[in-house]
Symmetry: C2
Subunit: 142 residues, 2 copies
Amino acid sequence: MTQVTFNSADEAEAAFYAAFEAGDADAMMAVWADDDIGVECVHPMSTRLVSRDEVESSWRGIFSNGSSLKFEISEVRRMEAGELSVHIVHENIRYGAASGQRSRVIATNVYRKTEHGWFMVLHHGSPGAISPEPAAPEGPLH
Amino acid sequence: MTQVTFNSADEAEAAFYAAFEAGDADAMMAVWADDDIGVECVHPMSTRLVSRDEVESSWRGIFSNGSSLKFEISEVRRMEAGELSVHIVHENIRYGAASGQRSRVIATNVYRKTEHGWFMVLHHGSPGAISPEPAAPEGPLH
């Protein structure tokens, strides 16, 4: 396992997206906290993963596709207190070098400070429409 | 505006879902923090709402539909430190008294303690499949 120390939530977040781009599951799991601290991961349109094993399996599955993603993170909102840091971000994603396919994911990322530095404890991603104005919510889902 | 004080994140969360069920926009906005503290709201499949005015407009729009929702909140995971409390929950929703229509939303709710009690600062909801086992993520969205 990769042994690294993240000195801030921002450092952990940078490592999270670097591991995601690299498709490196070991580097990815070095960002996540242990089960005794508690982790949760919600991939877009998927269910809650509530243990480190489940989270690791999901990333290994995602990375086994061999897809090449590039992330541009924008509009980062930070909510911080003590050992917790909540980041809400736009993940602006490009797929592959040539496809030109793009999408946006809205992610809430939560980090916790431990004696060994900062670790991710929550990643909650959901599809975010690329539109200049907030859309009016409608339909049966609130 | 409704004047209430929430003595814990759990109290604020109970008031949030009570206001949601009642379709009471004033009671709903009494749960939310002011702009100087900072608020964000992501309704399922919608974009980020980043001010109190935007959040209030969205709730008034939702409640103007007159739909009658019933929430059963389950599998609450709390991550707490200092003045921040992060809750990840399942919203198990029933629509109307007789329709029998159900859905699940996965929500990350964040609360902040102020000198006036606890307030909601983030609601991030996304569609959650009702399935007994976590689904394997797939497709272009990570």
